[in-house]
Subunit: 273 residues, 2 copies
């Protein structure tokens, strides 16, 4: 009998939950990573409408061969109520994007948006400890990146967002995670900085604007852009033209996939501490 | 970024629900059939424990990209309560094994165990209308096969099971579906028969017994065995040695897969009438 070779009765299930769901990329990428690591597992797109979320999710968690979940818009904060253990990143952000069933049956959640960025830097061998960072944009991704970076204990973090309340909240979060890191709130600046991080949407898709007002950048600066499309944003083009080393949004995505699959496989709270 | 090509954010979900689930073959076979027909869909194994079934299932049905379900042991009868429309086969059997979300959002269920057998006969060009059938074994599969065959209006159906109550129930079901079919209850007999159907487990796996007490069979008899493993049961070996034409359990399985995917794709009650 003809059959496919990527799913069978022993397959472990993983899912990404969102509304809408059609645009997500995790099914093809996480499933690849799982199968690459020898796991008989697939990650399915699961479309749950907002009014249904809080009733459907607890029942999904009862599926015996469901081992892990990813949450996307609009559920990263609402998912928090459904986990018994909340990781340190998720605690400071107040949201998470991955949840795993532990060996003891309890569910643990953690936020990997920032840890994926950290992983991309680690893979390039760029250290953050003791460095001076400029972070632009404090939406969900920016806050997560700021919290993850703070845990590396940089010397200085300067943060910028048009929303002053977000700046204040990020500054307090950094201070709580890394009391010895100097925190500044203010306009984007590369003067005396080692790393420039863009977490604003400026430069996404057809947007030709530059995320920072500059015609060149110091060559020793490492420039990161969280934007995945286009692969080379106007900021990254300027960075390359200025002789800077760069870390791309795609590398952060790759780092995040890798860390989430680590989390799925570990099935325990090891990664949360 | 590396990725698999068989699942993405637009993938429609199908599931087989059972307890246990590891042994099911639908995920690899139905997914193959779906993708072969150009559907971006996968059928996942979903393990739900008995105490959870009636609470989990209604919530699963709220998943917006979940289009169809298959039920296996022990849920074929319990699933009935969760569908708004029950097909004619399911009505007479009191159970179904497939459910689809119709275009109007309601769920329709039908029993394909017998329809798969019918499809296998149809593919071979073996007609049942006006024929004389001997059916052995009236468990879940046998009852479904009997009900599906009755709808073809054979001239005679003789049924046998060690459980007299099951014989009585099958006879009544046949009479209701096809009032002009002569129904007999009695020991297996091939005398004056055109088709011999085995739905008992005799001859399964290592069982070397013959489902009927005979050393040869009339050459004009068509012999069907619902057993999938081994492919050639002792009964089918005897049939081949006697010059009979045969229909195998695997062909019934293939017929059922095809009919269930038709049902999933139609998304409407057309197949139910």
């Amino acid at each position: 009998m003809e059959q496919v070779n990527f799913i069978n009765g022993q397959t472990r299930l993983y899912a990404i939950i969102g509304d809408p769901i059609e645009q997500v990329r995790s099914p093809e990428m996480i499933t690849w990573e799982l199968q690459q690591r020898g796991i008989n597992g697939v990650l399915c797109p699961v479309h749950i409408a907002e009014p249904d979320f809080d009733r459907v999710l607890p029942e999904l968690l009862k599926i015996r061969n469901m081992d892990g979940l990813i949450f996307t818009i609009p559920y990263k904060a609402r998912a928090l109520a459904h986990a018994q253990h909340i990781g340190p990143q998720a605690q400071v952000i107040g949201a998470f994007n991955a949840m795993v069933r532990q060996a003891d049956g309890a569910w643990a959640g953690e936020m990997f948006d920032g840890l994926g960025c950290l992983e991309a830097f680690r893979r390039r061998g760029f250290r953050l400890n003791g460095q001076r960072l400029m972070l632009m944009g404090l939406g969900g991704a920016g806050m997560a990146i700021g919290a993850a970076m703070a845990a590396e204990h940089p010397r200085l973090m300067r943060v910028f967002d048009l929303d002053a309340a977000r700046c204040e909240r990020m500054a307090q979060t950094i201070a709580r995670i890394s009391p010895n890191t100097e925190v500044q709130i203010g306009k984007p600046d590369t003067q005396g900085m080692d790393v420039l991080l863009n977490a604003t949407p400026i430069g996404m898709l057809g947007d030709t604007r530059m995320a920072i007002d500059a015609s060149s950048l110091p060559a020793q600066l490492i420039v990161f852009d969280a934007i995945v499309k286009p692969e080379l944003t106007p900021l990254l083009r300027l960075a390359e033209a200025s002789g800077c080393r760069t870390v791309k949004g795609r590398e952060m995505m790759g780092g995040q996939i890798s860390r989430i699959v680590d989390f799925f496989i570990a099935r325990g709270p090891e990664l949360l501490s």
